[in-house]
Symmetry: C3
Subunit: 268 residues, 3 copies
Amino acid sequence: MALTANEITCDLELVRERSPLVHNITNYVAMNSTANALLAVGASPVMAHAVEEVEDMVGIAAALVINIGTLSEPWVAAMSKAAAAAGKKGIPIVCDPVGVGATPYRTRVFRGLIETAWPTVIRGNASEIIASAGDFSATKGVDSAAAAESALASAQWLSGQHDCAVCVSGETDYIVDQDRVLLIRNGHPLMPKVTGLGCTATALCGAFAAVQPDRFRATASAMAVMGIAGEIAGEKADGPGSMQLQFLDVLYNLTGADITQRLKISEQ
Amino acid sequence: MALTANEITCDLELVRERSPLVHNITNYVAMNSTANALLAVGASPVMAHAVEEVEDMVGIAAALVINIGTLSEPWVAAMSKAAAAAGKKGIPIVCDPVGVGATPYRTRVFRGLIETAWPTVIRGNASEIIASAGDFSATKGVDSAAAAESALASAQWLSGQHDCAVCVSGETDYIVDQDRVLLIRNGHPLMPKVTGLGCTATALCGAFAAVQPDRFRATASAMAVMGIAGEIAGEKADGPGSMQLQFLDVLYNLTGADITQRLKISEQ
Amino acid sequence: MALTANEITCDLELVRERSPLVHNITNYVAMNSTANALLAVGASPVMAHAVEEVEDMVGIAAALVINIGTLSEPWVAAMSKAAAAAGKKGIPIVCDPVGVGATPYRTRVFRGLIETAWPTVIRGNASEIIASAGDFSATKGVDSAAAAESALASAQWLSGQHDCAVCVSGETDYIVDQDRVLLIRNGHPLMPKVTGLGCTATALCGAFAAVQPDRFRATASAMAVMGIAGEIAGEKADGPGSMQLQFLDVLYNLTGADITQRLKISEQ
């Protein structure tokens, strides 16, 4: 059975009530908008990347989000250290393979990361998920080049190999965990016109995984909330500038009724 | 006597007339919104953190703002160097202890910084001010965990120890300088839902301290302008997205009449 | 003959059709807004600065944009490496001398960069162009201190010396290439009140140079689109907050009719 609107609303309420501290080691481009989205959904964001403090920050966090969008060696070292600490502590680790496949360095770093860390969730677009799974395909920057469906096999492989939930986001989002697959068809064409909304989706997965122990459900709830907020925002927006603003306003004010009326979820 | 609306308006006019160059060594999350707020209030922002140039940048600046939100060793080195140059030159140094208390590294770095630099103003939330003052309390990320009032004793201790003004910001802002205490009760509940507005308040303290030599008055003026702009913006906003936009628009258009009508200031 | 509205519209259509991947090594302040502007104009942005991957990223990019706004040694090394790779590959290199003249380090780095790389376009404000050309003048931060006209001689010198197009932006934009000079008088007084719009102009030059091989025309088209979008946005805005939003919305929706009605271009 697919996840219900009620269950998603419950998860959203949990995020708002518990306001989990989400520790982000993320990219320069999306840092501000990610922090704002986490605040808007009701979570508590913190960004910290110094090797001197990531273990301590993980120590007070309820989830760790790792995003390699603007990676460099000092940040990669911090990501590894933070992931090890999160694994030891047992908090969820959500990983975003931004641009994996675009350069060998990015691909190597991300594969190394998920081999040593045990991610709870991996979320990327189709080409990133394909490249993360070892198929060799050059992505066109950080946009979704391959169609989401074609990444399904890669996602299932990744899920099995790394014992995690995987989300392939696109016009249809695929949430995969071993043999389970959910499809979410919410969203709006303006979403890919705003930079960092993929990174925001990953951060929301972190917020939901912090309060919902079922990783498959947490990922689906986060992506449904993301898609529905984006859909409502897109209908109110005149372009990517107002889209950004509306997205945060809508996410902040999102109700169970919005979720019930809008949710387009199905099992494969 | 508490600061009057007229005095605050005069300070705001000074910022707009002189457009002081404020050199910020700040965090990745708030850099863009801080720069925009400094422009909106009439100041001239510059962000620079390379050890090779911070002394020269201080040389042309009217104030230095140091914010440890996303600190790492190379940045800490630049902060120390810049602070030493600012001290030698005699321009105000405003420090923001973002997340102090959350990790030992952050606490150690910030205490080291204010022991060697001579800050003119320190602005933080209650838990950050408590941790900066040496009370050992773990903050919950970068939000205000402790109530502002409880930080008053710490603020007074910091003010005496480091010969500076201290602002504890929250629903009520406390501006402290030795035995003087001012309370400002402006603001709006949406303000903590926008990331980096605390960092923005710190940057505004820098802009005001650059033109107003009385550090206590400069801090109070900056926080009053911040709170009043936030209050008006909050009343116009539908959520944290529109709050961001409105805050900059309101700050840019703020009049003496707004300040006169809204100001809620009192002595303790 | 000056560039026509039709030619500019053709270039804009080319950007939208081809969606060139623009590789940015840029500053922390403007990264998010630059990425959003590139998306709004129809291009595909990627930000990457690790020395381990810049050559590979250049390998899949259609243009390279280098902006020294928040430079430091590891970034300078990546800029050099990326510029060499872009030169070898033959894609356009657009350079932004943010704050050149403000500190000796900045000036030295930028001059070194344009001496070894072969920039296709240099875009800066008047004081930055003057300082890049070797006149010794201290800029007041990153704002335009000198009037744009006074930089014309420096721009012509730079254009000859480095065989590139040069844009001096300000109330009037001067686009220079050897003995050709175009003046664009579009824009709005709110534009300098939004941080990073200069950096955005530079990034747009990259997007246009990626699809239009005539560097002089590409630069003029980008600056005209920038100025006209800013002009329309400014008329709709109530301050710098709404200006940011409107700029992206307008840029995204800009039509040939807007360009035809608004364009103020002339030869010198």
